[in-house]
């Protein structure tokens, strides 16, 4: 049994490309500031969103009956219109014993949209859900890098970028 903390990273792709330029450096990309990222987290009964590097979450350790998983997802604010953002890597550099190394998971799922010829009727289309998942091992502080790629509507990779937020598991 597990409790899931969802973290959504809304990415202002155009501003990142304008501010940090294009590159082809997946392993050593430029560091982004927080101004073009919207970190949204569900924490208990509240949704927190801010541009702070710190996300505070209530977590249960793995050896308790309910372990906490953290799932990170990233999308462009335009939801793929013009640009899309994809998380490519996580590197923990502080608190490596607080959470497990995040791993990439892919879920085939579907979305619903109104039928153009009959808007009262919904039709489904298959979509792919990428997320990175980790399990909380104990209370503590974690600092990490996440890496993301920005791809444009022609399929061209416009660049890789990274950011260094933190999580405090309480």
């Amino acid at each position: 049994m597990s409790d899931i903390v969802d973290v959504l990273i809304g990415v202002d792709c155009e501003s990142i490309i304008a501010g940090y330029g294009e590159n082809n450096a997946p392993t050593a990309p430029p560091m982004m500031e927080y101004e073009n990222l919207y970190m949204v987290i569900r924490n208990g009964n509240n949704l927190n969103y801010n541009k702070s590097p710190y996300l505070y979450l209530k977590a249960s350790a793995e050896n308790e009956s309910v372990a906490t998983s953290i799932r990170w997802r990233a999308r462009s604010v335009s939801m793929g219109f013009g640009y899309e953002a994809f998380l490519t890597n996580f590197i923990l550099y502080d608190g490596k014993d607080v959470i497990t190394q995040p791993v990439h998971r892919v879920l085939e799922t579907k979305s619903f949209i109104p039928d153009k010829s009959n808007p009262g009727q919904l039709i489904s289309q298959s979509v792919v859900d990428h997320f990175w998942e980790s399990t909380v091992l104990r209370a503590g502080y974690i600092a990490y890098f996440f890496y993301l790629a920005i791809v444009d509507h022609t399929g061209r990779v416009r660049g890789y970028y990274r950011n260094d937020p933190a999580v405090v598991a309480q």
Binding site: R42, Y49, T109, A149, H153
Partner: protein
């Protein structure tokens, strides 16, 4: 002047909504959400207007369209948030037209992750957005109506949210 689209994304934590308000099946009594359950974010996309119909309004700003979208915090896993309407205050009519639903067939980048790099491919996907043509710069107060479904397509309720968008 660069042609641009102003994108607004409403993120809704459906688990919180259902905990606080329960399942609401009444479209006429949609529950207003507060900031504990949702957030709205905005960003531009420039030079990529091709999937949109030609704007009939001659904009004085760099942006021609505002597009509203809504998603659950988990995107398509677990819940779906469908916008059923967006309306702007009468006083904002000088800044944007009344929003209407648009179907957009657009190329969508998908990727395969190969170690730490991405291998992209393009797939055409249809999305529905609520769109308004921009007439001028100003603050636009709007209300969005949202229908929430679970991942099986079962109705979880009708909700509303209000926010303000700065068009500049």
């Amino acid at each position: 002047m660069t042609d641009a689209v102003r994108n607004v994304l409403a993120v809704i934590s459906v688990d919180d909504v259902l905990q606080k308000h329960g399942v609401n099946n009444s479209v006429d009594a949609a529950v207003m959400l507060d900031a504990d359950c949702m957030g709205t974010f905005a960003a531009n996309v420039s030079g990529y207007l091709a999937p949109l119909p030609p704007a009939s309004v001659s904009s004085v700003t760099s942006a021609k369209w505002v597009l509203w979208r809504a998603t659950s915090l988990t995107f398509n896993a677990k819940y779906h948030c469908l916008i059923t309407g967006v309306s702007v205050e009468d006083t904002a009519n000088c800044f944007v037209s009344q929003p209407v639903m648009q179907w957009i067939d657009r190329p969508t980048p998908l990727v395969t992750l190969v170690e730490t790099a991405v291998q992209p491919e393009i797939r055409t996907q249809t999305e529905t957005v609520w769109a308004a043509e921009i007439k001028g710069a100003g603050n636009v107060k709007y209300e969005m109506s949202v229908k929430v479904l679970d991942h099986h397509g079962n109705l979880q309720g009708y909700y509303r949210l209000q926010s303000t968008l700065a068009v500049n």
